[in-house]
């Protein structure tokens, strides 16, 4: 394995690419890490988020049976607490970075783009903190049994 970052040869913007050489990707640094994170977290979320959506919204009466008693039972299990917390963190990071990628295309002025990205980053961080506090501190025995 090469120890230095391989820099791909510059290719013309609209020229044909040799077949089978794939799409462009970042060559290094922060952009390469976020590029990799989007794909890895996407694969993990394929299990976590699709599983969540099927369990909570489709199967076995779906959202009709979701109420406080249901959460009380569900979050008595460390497994589901861990599932929901990991999904919270990965989905927020994946989504906020996705929004950042979109601002690269549609918001050209540097200051405006920075302002929008900062807004979503702060919102994401605040929601991650709120969700973490709720998942960690929720004690099913604190409330009357269903």
């Amino acid at each position: 394995m090469a120890t230095t970052t391989e820099v791909r040869p510059q290719e013309p913007l609209h020229g044909p690419k040799p077949p089978g050489t794939g799409r462009d990707r970042p060559v290094g640094g922060f952009e390469l890490w976020t590029w990799l994170f989007m794909r890895i977290s996407g694969l993990v979320l394929l299990i976590l988020a699709v599983g969540h959506v099927l369990i909570m919204h489709v199967l076995d009466e779906g959202v009709d049976r979701v109420n406080f008693a249901f959460i009380q039972l569900r979050w008595a299990s460390p497994f589901w607490k861990a599932w929901d917390w990991l999904m919270l963190v990965l989905a927020l990071l994946h989504g906020v970075n996705g929004l950042r990628m979109i601002t690269l295309d549609y918001i050209r002025p540097h200051g405006a783009r920075l302002a929008v990205n900062t807004f979503f980053a702060v919102l994401g961080a605040a929601l991650m903190a709120l969700g973490t506090i709720i998942v960690v501190t929720f004690d099913p025995t604190q409330w009357p049994a269903p």
């Binding site: 609209h14 799409r23 009709d64 927020l92 929601l127």
Partner: protein, 134 residues
């Protein structure tokens, strides 16, 4: 206007990727829809910390046929974004698969439609039941 004409760049910085441009657009639109819902969903779920009365009042929002239609749309968005994301990841991790880009694109759509048929049936009948209750 011929496709060749478009491809010479007369339309400026437009994506000219045939079917690929629609999957690219759908990936974006579903992604934005999901993250905007997620921002609200974290807050509504956090209400469980305030006990049964507060949370059950929030959960009762779902007892509404229109909200349930949005819910079906959310499930479709998550599924499409996931399946298409796997296609993108496969092509990016194994660049030789670009030779099969068309087949993978067709497989993505088929898989999504195949999954949505039973899901639409299950969620759709629940919505109709809700409408009958009035």
């Amino acid at each position: 206007m011929s496709v060749e004409g478009d491809r010479k760049g007369r339309l400026g910085p437009l994506y000219k990727g045939h079917e690929g441009q629609y999957s690219w657009l759908l990936h974006r639109v579903t992604g934005v829809a999901i993250i905007l819902f997620l921002f609200a969903h974290v807050v509504d779920t956090a209400v469980v910390g305030w006990g049964p009365d507060a949370y059950n009042r929030v959960a009762s929002v779902y007892h509404n046929p229109f909200v349930r239609l949005l819910e079906l749309g959310l499930v479709a968005a998550v599924l499409y974004h996931s399946i298409n994301g796997v296609r993108i990841t496969l092509i990016d991790f194994f660049p030789r698969l670009t030779r099969h880009a068309r087949g993978l694109g067709i497989a993505t759509v088929l898989l999504f439609v195949a999954a949505m048929i039973p899901i639409t049936w299950i969620m759709g009948t629940a919505i109709i039941d809700l409408l009958r209750e009035g």
